[in-house]
């Protein structure tokens, strides 16, 4: 073995260090904890011959994945007869344990929701002082009502508000009903969605107790049915600890005046490269006013749009200041946007979105960042 191979290669090491490693998504540790609850319950139940419960375990995965939206992430239980009897009995134990764990998780989630609502209004205060406003004004938070009270005259906003409030209140039926058909197809069944309600309540449901700084509406052109809009809630949330500055994008489809949330109708991956999103609790990314904002979308993304705050909705590659270029050796395309005159200094929100070619699916993301 040569000396060259014994020691780290400094050139390669330096190169590897140029690849920043992101932190986890905001719900990662919650998902792990929920899974471990299930495992712990499995261990406990293995000794107690609990009765079978007809429920299918579902593992929450990362949001905004490129996974086919019509394939629910359900761990399949082998059909009776296809496996030995001992295996079938094991499945029953698994299902029982999962049901027990799910109940535990719901209780935990409910406890945390109650805790957030009995706390002071400090949770809704903006941590970083006044920010430059973008579009709509949200009414002041009520001291007696813990649900999000955003302007309801816009159907897309009303749909998002109803959805996060339903999650926050633990009303699974309402939350399920507020989802559009593509998002429901992603889950596969209401029971699969229900199994994840605690995680969703902790994540998106946290908006129900918040007072957004801004609500942005970004219309998308789509060949699909009805009208497609991305609603971005911008604000500061309290999630099991420190306040978190967030901007969450919620695709909404409006058909015949009825708006449905299509948050899970993923069209594919969407990666914001500049500004690089930071993890929960992390420092907000900073970009220079002269920087190019960069997003990577799949090559078959239809009319990818990019938007800074409440500015013009720009179709990448068509609008002035944007560049859409192919990526060598991959199916992705790079969308670069350099705002004319630079990015105004201050707190900004970048929203990006695209649809599938048939307009049935949509991917959207909003990122808060600082231009300085």
């Amino acid at each position: 073995m040569s000396e060259e191979l014994v020691e780290p290669d400094l050139v390669v090491r330096t190169a590897l260090q140029l690849l920043p490693v992101p932190d986890h998504g905001p719900d990662f540790w919650y998902r792990v904890a929920t899974d471990l609850d299930v495992e712990e319950a499995l261990r406990l139940t293995a000794d107690a011959d609990a009765p079978a419960v007809p429920a299918a375990p579902v593992r929450a995965r990362s949001p905004r994945r490129a996974a086919p939206p019509t394939v629910p992430l359900v761990e399949l239980v082998p059909a009776p007869g296809a496996v030995p009897p001992t295996m079938r009995r094991r499945s029953n134990l698994v299902l029982s344990a999962v049901a027990v764990a799910a109940a535990i998780a719901v209780v935990v989630a409910g406890t945390s929701l109650v805790r957030s609502r009995t706390g002071s209004d400090a949770a809704t205060e903006v941590a970083e002082g006044p920010e430059e406003t973008t579009t709509s004004e949200a009414p002041a938070a009520s001291s007696s009502i813990s649900t999000l009270a955003a302007p309801h005259d816009e159907p897309a906003v009303a749909a998002v508000v109803a959805w996060v409030n339903a999650l926050g209140q633990g009303d699974v039926d309402a939350a399920w009903s507020a989802l559009g058909p593509a998002s429901q197809a992603h889950w596969g069944s209401k029971s699969a969605f229900t199994a994840e309600r605690s995680g969703l309540a902790e994540g998106y449901g946290a908006w129900s107790a918040a007072d957004p700084d801004d609500i942005l509406l970004t219309p998308l052109s789509s060949s699909g049915e009805g009208e497609l809009v991305v609603v971005t809630l911008v604000g500061t949330l309290q999630q099991e600890g420190p306040e978190v500055a967030r901007a969450d994008a919620f695709p909404v489809r409006i058909v015949d005046g009825t708006a449905k949330v299509e948050l899970f109708a993923y069209a594919g991956e969407l990666e914001v490269v500049v500004p690089e999103p930071v993890p929960e609790g992390g420092r907000r990314p900073v970009v220079a006013p002269g920087d190019e904002l960069v997003v990577v979308v799949p090559s078959d993304a239809a009319a990818p749009v990019i938007r800074l705050d409440d500015g013009e909705v720009l179709v990448c590659g068509d609008a002035p200041g944007t560049r859409l270029t192919a990526l060598e050796g991959s199916s992705g395309r790079r969308c670069g946007y350099t705002p004319k005159g630079g990015i105004p200094k201050g707190q900004r929100v970048l929203t990006v979105a695209y649809t599938s070619t048939d307009g049935a699916e949509v991917s959207a993301e909003s990122v808060r960042f600082t231009a300085a």
Binding site: M1, L5, V6, P8, D9, V11, V12, R13, T14, A15, L16, Q17, L18, L19, P20, V21, P22, D23, H24, G25, F28, R31, V32, A33, D35, L36, E39, E40, R59, R61, S62, P63, R64, R65, A66, E269, E271, V273, V274, V287, A288, D291, E292, V294, V296, T325, A326, L327, E328, G329, S330, S331, G332, R334
Partner: protein, 182 residues
Amino acid sequence: MSPPPTAVPDVELVELARAGDRSAFDTLLRRHDDRLRGLAFRLLADRYAMDDALQEAYVKAYRALPRFRAGSNFGTWLYRITYNACIDELRRRKRAPVTTEEPTDPVSGRPGPERVVSASETVRAALARLPVDQRVTVVLVDGEGFDHQEAAEILGVAPGTVASRLHRARAALRHILGEEVG
């Protein structure tokens, strides 16, 4: 992989975790998570895939904890589980990671913000072009600082295999990155 001097050693936390102490297991996960993220992200080049792989790995580790051999290195053991979870995730994805549009020289001069972005894109693209076995080897040794023996334990191969993979990976990376080998 050694913890800070004031912290409870891994070996004690492992014993507590094996006895059913969930908080001890959580502490172990969070202690090693930084470096495991480095491995997973550099292998998968996608932060969502990274999260999914680590979620899977941590659950598998919890399941396998009763079978963890006393005296073994917990960090190495967890790396191995994470590596396997990443391979599973790669198989699931069956698509090429996103790469950059054109290569640049990332290691000359002091890069400004745009330069850093370009460099990180280039490194990510370069890594993605390596076979997985070479990619993981160079990430473990040059990225995470493991020696050949440790990397071999994690990967389940002989140290000589690590050396040969590393040699090929370094040569390929230098070539891709446009580095002149002196």
